[in-house]
Symmetry: D2
C-alpha cells in the first residue's frame, strides 16, 4: 500500500532522528530553556530576516492556532476567516473554547482577499447595531490555503495594509508553509511573508518533523504573559528540547526549504500524471495537495493499492479526492501511481 | 415623535406597575423563593398544558439564550441555527463565551426547515473527518423568527421529529412568542409548541413586562445543577419576586395573549397602510415586525415625526426599514403614520 | 413574620415606583440610550466628584463582578481576594466561567490589607516557577466586606498604592456601598473611594432599587469594546431606562445616602438590643449586617416570629446568625425584636 | 554539571529511539489510527487488568489534566484537590480556562484523605446557600503526590468509596506513576489503582518517554465525544504513532516498571547520602523526588557542580531544595553527589 493520504502519514527526517540520538544523553532544563531551543530560535530569526523577532515552539497546529488567536484577541473579540478555514471546520471548536467567535466571510475561494475584507468591515461599521455584535480583532489566513492555493505578493501586501487600516491583526497559519513557499506560483520568500503580518507559524509536523510548530511574532511584540498563556493552553512541552532539536535540524543548512521543494516537484509530477491520464482536476493546485475528480469505480480500484482521502462526495456521485505528497514521498511512488492510472485507462 | 422603533421602546403594562405597588411592602426570600414566583410558575405550567414542567424566570433574552444553550449542550458541543439567528448576529458572542460554536445552516429564509437540517446532518455524519468537527447537540429556532415569520404546525412537528431522530435537542427562543402565537398565520397554540420542543422561553421584555423571560423545560427535565448554572451566568435576580410578579400578572386572566393579539391587529393595519400607499414590503410579515422598502428621501421625511430602524442598506441605495408594534402601540399612532404616508404620496 | 433575612427581602423605594409610573408612557430607545440613563449617569458622576468618569448600569451583582473582572483582566489572568469574598464563595463560578482564576490570600479577616498583598506578590515574583502560575492582574475587595466590616481611609490609600506598585488594578464591589459609607466607622466619602481604585460599582439592589448596579470607571478609561462585553455577558438590559430611572431617583437629592444612613442607625440599635440582652456578637460589625451567636434553642424560639439566616454552624452546636437591616427596616421591627429578646432572657 | 533538577531533564529511553528509527519508513494514518497506537493500548489494557478499558494517548500533563477534568465535569462544576496540587498551582489556570473552578480542601498534607473530603462535603451540603456555590463533581489526586508521597491501599479504597457515596468522580494524575508504584511504601499495583478510580493517566514524559501521557478510563466509559474533545483541547497529535511507539516500547516487557524501580533505588540511595551527611530532610519522601533543607552557603557551593531546584525559601533563610532521580540517573551521579556532600561537611 502506497500512501498519498496526508503529509503526516510518515515518520520524520532521518537527520532529526540522528540529532535526537546524538543529544540524548544531555541534561537540560525543561520548557524550552535549553541550548537547542535557543539555537533553533536563532536560526528561525535569521531565516525570517528579523533579528529581534520573538519565537516560540509549540507542539501541534490546532493548539497553536487556539493559543495564538486567544493571545492576539481581546476578551470576546472574534477572528475573521474564509468558510473553508481549518479553524472553522476542523479544529473541533478550539477557538470557541477560549470564548472567541470565528467569523466567516468570502465565497468559494480558499483565499481571503482585501476587497472582501474591506467590504465586510465597511458593512460592519455602518451597521447601527454593530456594538451588539462580536468585534473583529484578527484576520486568519493560511499559506498555502486549505485547498492548496498560494497567496501572491501583491495580495498579501494589500491584505496586510487593509488589516492595519481597520486596526485588525493579521495572523498566518503556516502548517504547510514550506510547500507554499516552494510552489512555482509563489512570488515571495519567508522574509517577505514575515514582514507582511503580525504573527505566523512555521509548520514542522507536516514538513519533516515528528511534531512542532514555530510561532514567530514578526510584526509585533509577543503579548504580555504569552509564555504563561502557552502553558495555560496545554501547549508547553516539558522536554522542550525535543522541539528545539527538530527545528534546529530543519533550519540548519536550509533543509526546510530543500525538502519542501522536492515535495512540490513530485506534486507537480503527480498532477501531470492525472492530467495525462484524463482525470479531471478539481482545482489546479500549485502545492503539495492535489484534488482530482474520480468516479466511484476509479476510486474503488485505486484504493486497492493506494491510500488517499475522499474529500467530498458530489451530488452526482463523483468523488473529489485528495492526493498529498510530502518530503517523504519518493519518485517511485509517483511512478507506481502513474502505472495504476494507465491500467485504469 | 411617535416610535415604531422596537417592542422594547415602552414602559410596562399598567397592571404590572399596580401589582408591584400593591406587593411592595411584603417581605420575601430572594432568588425566586417567594409566593409570586411560585404563582407565576403555576400559571405558566397551566398555560402550557404541562403540569410538571420546570419553569425558571430569568432577566433578559441574550442571557437566557446563553444560559440555556450552555445547559443543553455537552462540553464543546455546538448549536445549529440559521444565519440570521439572534444568537449568531446580535448577541456579541455570548454563546461562544461559554465555549460553544454557533453552526449556521440554511439559506436566505429566517426559518430552519427539517429538510435542511437532515441534509446537514447526513453530510456531517458521512464526512470521514467529522470527529474533528464541532459535534452538533442542539437546534435553535425562534418563534416568530428574527424577520417576523412564523412556523407552521407541520413544520414544527417535522423539525422536532428530525431533531430527535439525530439525538439533537430543540430549543425555541420565544422573545416575541405572544406576537407569534397571535399571528393570523399561526396554526398552533402554546401547548402545541410546548410539546414540540425540549425547552423554550416565553418572552416578557417585549410583551408587556419591564424585563423577564420565562424558561420552560417542556420536553425534558432541567439539567442537574441548572439553578446554580443560572447564578453562574449572572442571570439570577436577587429580588426574584420582581420577575414573579410580572409573569403572575401576564399569565393571570390570559393577559399575555390578549395584549399580543391587539399588537398583531395593529401591525396588520400598519402593513395595510404601507400597501395602500404603494410602499413595497420587504417581506410579507405576519407578525408585529413589518419590513418595508423606503427611498432615502422617504426615510428622511418620515424620520422627522416617526422613530423606526434602518435594518439594511441595499446596494441600490434603497433602505429596508423596520416598523414594530407592541402591546403599547395605539390606534392613533397607526393613523398618524397613515396620514404621513398619504402626505409622502 | 418580621424579616431580618437580607437587604433584598423587600420591594423598592416608593419614590422609584412613583417615577416608573410617571415615565411609563414615554417611548425611548433601548439599551441605555435614553434620557433617564443619561441623567442617572450625570448624577453619579457628580456624586463621585469625577466629571469625566464612564458609568454603566448593569442588572445584578454577580453579573457585574463577572463582567468587570473579565474586562479588567487580560486573557487568563487571575483576580486576588480574601477567602470569604463573594466571588470566591457565592457566585457559582461566574468568574471562572470566563476563564479567570480566583486567587485567595489572607487569613481570617474579611478585609484584604496592603501588607498581605505585598507579601503575596513578593513571594509570587521570587518564585522561580511563577511563569507557570496564573498571573495576578486585579485585586477585588468589597466595601463593606462580606462580614460587614469597613475599610479605613488609610487602608484604602495603602492598598491602592500597593496595587499600582505591582501593576495590579483595584476593583471595589459596592453591593452594599451606601451602608458602608454611612457606617460610623467609615472615615471617607464616595469621592475619596472613587479616587482610590480603578473601578467600582454602586449597589442598587440592596439599597433601595428593584435591581441595578452602577459601574464607575474612576481611575481608568473603560476598556475598548466594554459596551459589547456587557452584552456578551448577558448583562445589557433591553429596557435600559428601567435602570436609569432607578438610579436617577436614588441619586437625586441625596436619597441614596439618606436611606443608607437610616438603615445603619437601625442596625446600631439592633446591635445594642443584642448586647443589652447578653447575646454575644460574632463580630462587632459597624454596618447593616449584624452577626450574633445563638444557641439552638434561642434560634428555634426566635424563628417563630423573625426571619434571619443561619450563617454558620459551629462545632460546639452554637449558631452564628445574621440579622440585616435595610432602607426598608422600620423602627417598630427593631422594637419587636427587642421585646422578643427580652422574653428569651 | 550533574543534574538532579527534574525527571524531564533528559532525552528518552534508547529503546524508544531504536523503535522510532525502525518504524520511520512506515506510512500510517494520523491521529492515533495506526497499529503502534493500537498495540500500545492493548498492552496498557493488559497491564491494568482491564481488557475493556478505553485508552487515549495525549501529549503533556497539563493538557491531559485540563482535557480530562473538562470531560469529567458538567458545565460549570468544580474539581476538588489539595492546595499543593499541580492543577491549583502550576498549570497557569488551564482548568479555569475551560470554565471550571479548582476547589482546594485539606491542610498541609499533599495527600487528600477520605475524612477531609467527607467533612468538606457534609459542610457543603448542609450549607443553605450551597446552590449558589460551585458544585463539586470530581476529586483530583496525584500518585505520587506533588511532594513525593504515596497513597496506601486502604486510603485509596476509602477515598474511592467516599467519592462514589457523594456522586463524585475520582481522577488520578499519574505524571510520575511508575515512581509511585515502585516506591517501597506503595502496597498496591497498577490493576489495584485502575480499579479504584474512574480514570487516571500513566505518565510517559517523566518516565522514559520524550512526551506522552496515557489516559485510561478504568471505572467508567469515556464520555460521549471524548475524541473530539481531545482535538478541541489541542491535545490530539497529528502523527499519533509517535506516542503509540513510545508507549508500545514502555509497556512491552515491563520496561515501564523496571526503569521506575531503578530510579527509586537510586532515590533511596540519594536520600541516604543526605541523611548520612547530616543534611535534614524536609519530608521523608518514598519516591524519586527528595526534599532537603540546605543553608544558603551549602546551596551555593553545591550549585557549582549540581543542578537542582530551590523549592521554597523559608522565612529563616534556609532553603528547601528538590533533588530528583529518574530512569536516566546513573549510580555514578549519586556517588559524585555523595562525595560533594562529604566535602561540604
Amino acid at each position: 500500500m502506497i500512501s498519498f493520504e496526508s503529509d503526516y502519514n510518515n515518520g520524520c527526517l532521518p537527520e532529526i532522528l540522528k540529532n535526537l540520538l546524538q543529544s540524548n544523553d544531555e541534561r537540560t532544563s525543561g520548557y524550552g530553556s535549553d541550548c537547542h531551543t535557543e539555537a533553533a530560535k536563532a536560526l528561525i530569526r535569521k531565516a525570517t530576516g528579523l533579528p529581534d523577532a520573538e519565537v516560540f515552539l509549540l507542539v501541534g497546529g490546532t493548539q497553536t492556532n487556539a493559543t495564538m488567536i486567544d493571545a492576539l484577541l481581546g476578551s470576546g473579540e472574534g477572528v475573521i476567516c474564509v468558510p473553508t478555514a481549518h479553524i472553522e471546520v476542523h479544529e473541533a471548536g478550539a477557538v470557541e473554547a477560549f470564548g472567541h467567535k470565528v467569523i466567516t466571510i468570502g465565497g468559494t475561494s480558499s483565499k481571503l482577499d482585501a476587497g472582501g475584507l474591506r467590504s465586510y468591515m465597511e458593512s460592519f461599521l455602518s451597521d447601527d447595531s454593530h456594538s451588539h455584535m462580536v468585534q473583529p480583532g484578527l484576520v486568519y489566513i493560511s499559506m498555502p490555503t486549505e485547498l492548496g492555493d498560494v497567496y501572491r505578493r501583491s495580495e498579501l501586501e494589500e491584505l496586510y495594509d487593509c488589516c492595519r487600516g481597520y486596526g485588525l491583526k493579521l495572523y498566518i497559519d503556516g502548517a504547510r508553509l514550506g510547500y507554499g513557499l516552494c510552489s512555482p506560483e509563489c512570488d515571495f520568500d519567508l522574509p517577505f511573508l514575515a514582514s507582511h503580518c503580525h504573527a505566523f507559524y512555521i509548520g514542522g509536523t507536516k514538513v519533516g518533523a515528528m511534531m512542532g510548530e514555530a510561532v514567530v511574532f514578526s510584526g509585533m511584540k509577543a503579548p504580555r504573559g504569552f509564555f504563561t498563556n502557552i502553558k495555560r493552553h496545554g501547549a508547553l512541552l516539558a522536554k522542550g528540547r525535543m522541539l528545539g532539536i527538530q527545528f534546529e535540524t530543519l533550519f540548519a543548512d536550509g533543509l526546510y526549504l530543500e525538502i519542501s521543494s522536492r515535495a512540490i516537484r513530485l506534486a507537480m509530477k503527480l498532477k501531470d500524471c492525472f492530467r495525462r491520464r484524463g482525470i479531471p482536476l478539481a482545482t489546479d493546485s500549485p502545492t503539495n495537495q492535489q484534488f482530482v475528480i474520480l468516479s466511484e469505480a476509479q476510486q474503488r480500484c485505486l484504493s486497492k493499492d493506494f491510500a488517499f482521502e475522499i474529500w467530498e462526495k458530489r451530488p452526482d456521485g463523483a468523488l473529489m479526492c485528495r492526493f498529498v505528497t510530502s518530503w517523504a514521498t519518493s519518485e517511485s511512488e509517483i511512478d507506481a501511481l502513474d502505472a495504476a492510472l494507465e491500467r485504469l485507462g
